[in-house]
Amino acid sequence: MSKLKTQSLHKRDSELAKTNKQLEILSNGIFANGELPTFKDKIAESNQFPLKPKPLEILQINVGYMCNQVCEHCHVDAGPDRKEIMTKETMQQCLDVIKSTGAHTLDLTGGAPEMNPNFRWFVEEAAKVGIKDFIVRSNLTIIRANKKYHDLPEFFKKHNVHVVSSMPHWTRGKTDKQRGEGVFDQSIQALKDLNAVGYGMPDSNLKLDLVYNPSGAFLPANQAAMEKDFKKALLEDFGIQFHNLFSITNLPISRFLDFLIASENYEDYMYALVDAFNPSAVANVMCTNTLSVSWDGYLYDCDFNQMLDLKVASKTKHISNYNEEVLQNRDIIISQHCYGCTAGAGSSCQGTVA
């Protein structure tokens, strides 16, 4: 993999920062000349087009694109230079929806969600609603980034937050290559801090799960086998424990798409995704039970569609006029990036789906 960039595509003024450019790439070339079937045609073969939502289970809220890291594969194009941050007012609108929705899971993501200045207030308020599973996607290094974040493990514990964190490998070399110099050591320290307050320990109710996504142009292997390898290595080498490993496929958008093109892996990767298409994964792709809210309150079928600026195909497009019944009737917007969700055992923010 090439040397890690230190700025987002947006900051670099890259062509690929434009979402229509990304969508154009995903629709042209091998998908326009008939070499590979479009996602629409592929799911139509098993009568699964149009893709429709099931009752809402997960509300995923992206509280901002700012991040202390600039990971090579990041589908958010997050980084310290991104200034899109959810306001308290939009957070309040989200809270109103959280109170009324039947969703059992609230999933906060970013960027680094902890960098939103109102993050703690939002967590405190949301925790009061008593939603069954309250997830915060923490990149781990943020816990060590600055003194003001050192107490995050205690804060998460106090509000019974389910911590889900990224870890691309159990070795330093592979982790730092994808996420930046020094990330591995900081992540290990953060995991120890979380373990120390009880997170991830066997039989502990404080859930700590890890997310694995490949550090290159290849698909993830079997989730259970990877979990076994991760658990063994992290325990033996560092005495670290965690609960589950979610294996996530990199979707060909944003910085990962940029990497695929720059490293001349784009076509092979798309072939690999299409070859691994699993029709039985389609029924459970993330967008069928999840809604994604952006920092400015717009609604999307998933976090990936959010990054492609594909707002829901519904009259209700914003959290301020949220209407679950109306949203239920929509068709989910798809494109070729969706192949990333249906390869092999499928992929979602909660790991495999098939």
Partner: protein, 111 residues
């Protein structure tokens, strides 16, 4: 026709060998897939063996396939290189061990 014997994109078409003999093709792929399933050896160990053998038989398709397979399984490049040295050692050793035959012959001829 392509101008080289090997085309990397041909690897994707491996399954097509069944088109000309369905019975034997599917028997082969059934066998192949079963071999790589977890047994007394883990899938990971089998992947590393496959990578070493691929280099021994110098099959470019297999090298591509099992390098990718190894990465997918989280196998590190250090582990891959060590596996290759096992292949290299056995290959080199196989040549050198015949040196005993050479020495025997010299000793016999020279009396």
């Amino acid at each position: 026709m392509s101008k080289t014997y090997y085309d990397p994109t041909d690897l994707r078409k491996f399954g097509k060998i069944s088109d000309w003999n369905e019975e034997l093709g599917s028997k082969f792929f059934d066998y192949y897939n079963t071999v790589f399933q977890e047994g007394a050896l883990s899938e990971r160990e089998k992947s590393l063996i496959a990578l070493a053998v691929a280099h021994t038989i110098q099959c470019p398709y297999c090298i591509d396939a099992y390098t990718g397979d190894g990465l997918q399984r989280g196998i590190t490049k250090e582990e891959m290189m060590e596996a290759l040295h096992v292949a290299g050692a056995i290959r080199g050793g196989a040549s050198l061990v015949h040196g005993v035959q050479m020495m025997n012959k010299v000793n016999k001829l020279e009396g």
